[in-house]
Symmetry: C3
Subunit: 269 residues, 3 copies
């Protein structure tokens, strides 16, 4: 991680990949800032699932270059009076609706400046009621990249006035003997990513996981630690406990899904 890359824009949205929404946003940005380099983190946040978006953003953001402009649009309130905000931190600049999707960022990065975006001259002249990703956030991102200062986008606001949401929990009520969380999302392989954060547990114990009506699932190091088509839980690439079936699909096999509770407990010796 050696260089600053002030020409990079990262998108995270729930717009999907099949429509023209993302392509139009890129067109708007490149019309203003032709040298922008745009990365798609994902456009497959579950529609309007702000909690999932906030979780995924927090887990992914450390992999993006310093000074990136990160545009996070999961926006069930588009067209209402919700604010649009620009947040400059010690590492990145974020553009998002003020609905809590930046909650994890407020918790983990140092906030340097927070702006309520109001300046019409940096938005498209004609604005739809439903697509501020194209009409507001993309032109703002393009203008930031082209040299506009974040202060020029609107009025400074106190970060504590921005909306925060409850992120998926990883909690214990018995001094760490058991931990409770939930399933956040299902990945392409059918693996179930949970909110249980490996850093919180005492790794010197042996743990098992309980989800749905399944038998307890062992928490192991890697796929090879269980037999073929057997369930396992392990620390996934985001540092969270994930549930998988070796050479299989946990999502379709275990009959559990997003939002379902999970719990881990120490295996008695």
């Amino acid at each position: 991680m050696v260089s600053e890359c002030p020409h990079i824009i990262v998108f995270m949205t729930d717009f999907g990949l099949n429509d023209t929404y993302v392509g139009q946003m890129k067109g708007v940005i490149l019309s203003i800032s032709p040298l922008a380099q745009i990365i798609d983190l994902t456009h497959s946040i579950s529609p309007q699932n702000v909690v999932q978006g906030a979780f995924i953003l927090q887990k992914s953001v450390l992999y993006f270059p310093a000074k990136s402009i990160i545009v996070s649009i999961v926006d069930p309130g588009v067209g209402s009076l919700r604010k649009a905000i620009a947040v400059e931190t010690d590492r990145h600049t974020f553009l998002a609706p003020d609905n809590g999707v930046l909650t994890g960022i407020f918790q983990t990065q140092i906030i340097k400046r927070c702006i309520s975006i109001t300046e019409k001259r940096y938005m498209l002249a004609v604005q739809s009621a439903t697509f501020h990703g194209r009409d507001v956030f993309s032109p703002i991102a393009g203008h930031l990249l082209a040299g506009v200062s974040i202060q020029d986008l609107g009025n400074e606001m106190d970060p504590s006035d921005c909306i925060k949401i409850q992120l998926p929990k990883c909690s214990t009520s018995d001094n760490g003997q058991t931990w409770n969380g939930s399933i956040i999302y299902t990945d392409h392989f059918g693996n179930l990513v949970t909110s249980l954060d490996t850093e919180r547990f005492d790794a010197s114990n042996h743990w098992q996981l309980q989800v749905g009506i399944c038998k307890p699932i062992p928490i192991v190091t890697t796929y090879a630690d269980v037999g073929n088509l057997q369930p396992l839980a392990y620390t996934g690439s985001s540092g969270m406990i994930e549930i998988a079936i070796r050479n299989g699909n946990a999502s379709s096999t275990l009959d559990v899904g997003e939002g379902d509770p999970v719990r881990i407990s120490i295996i008695a010796k």
Copy 2:
């Protein structure tokens, strides 16, 4: 929209996102023109649906930088004798099969030059019968970006000789009391985008929409104007009337789809 960006190529195709078609096209372009910046408008046009492609292209094109090269491939006639054309307008340069996919462009942009592409030296040496996107259009786009003149691609032709198709209609037979159109496509959220163009109606009236066997659906401003899980119609981000279910999926709920007729009428006071 401040700069000209002669290094930008925009793709619209029906090739989908799962195969290697799009990746191979990008490889061909970058082999010829290494600094090309490529935007995917969409690769999810319904297979071989030229009408849908023409409609979506027209609605999206204004968001792309001036001087972009826009490659639009929905090409059921690939391998037949249909022409490949290059069309320079006051805003962009288009490459497409001559099958009507540029109909909306011919109607809305000023045509400066129209070429029937024939010059083999700007195509790949070996050509498949089925993938001119890679073997013809991509190398042509790369060479245009690298400085080849559009006139060098083949013989000039009269734009009126290019094939035009009937775009989805938005018509009235009673002086604007009712308007008839159809559903063009379904987006990622299950919203149904119609051919009914808001600019044509008298917005001082109250309107309702009829589709399938559903009860009339009110045309409102935004989602919040109806109750949870209720249907609504509104002006979408493309300027067309869209049908949605608040916090739901209109496509799966209403049992209507692409091509189905829609009609709006004034609500009696």
Copy 3:
């Protein structure tokens, strides 16, 4: 194909398009090498299907610019002791797990150097057990682009010590009267791509194809050679025989799929 493009990275993986895996990899690369131009060949290799990946890579690689860095990750053994390798050929540099996914490359390109990747300083400091695409291969690719020599990545190894796999066959047991192969994958249009390589057959004969319990399918030049909704076989854009239904979907109609055997034979005159 006129220029060398040492800033281009090509990805082929089985990570899918819906998760954050690919976006995180791009973030890591651009953090190290901000001017990288990244092409997605495909992220839709069937999960853990190394044979399919090897086949598709070999068929696509000639369309990428000389000097591209091609990262091919289909990696069922991630987290085990399998090696990670860097292979420099006369045309490209490949990064991949040592599991046979480069088999077709070893067969068709001239190998100049082969390295077992071991140098931790070019990987991310914290490595997950399951996502070496982000933690190992992406930073290695970024550092190669930034000027690190392939020799500095680890120890040179003999290419003959790299793992090779059996690629899908195209074989005859009767001097070319019949050829046997299999279905490799199904594309976006429902066309079935086989391992039967057109270059091997005597094109002066008339051929037919047998698959599943279908009636023999004629091998023709293009879609228009058969009636509407009729099956056909033809040379696809990768040079292999493909099976399609004119204006239809062969995959869903013919009830055959990946791995199923196919055979072609000469039609008696």
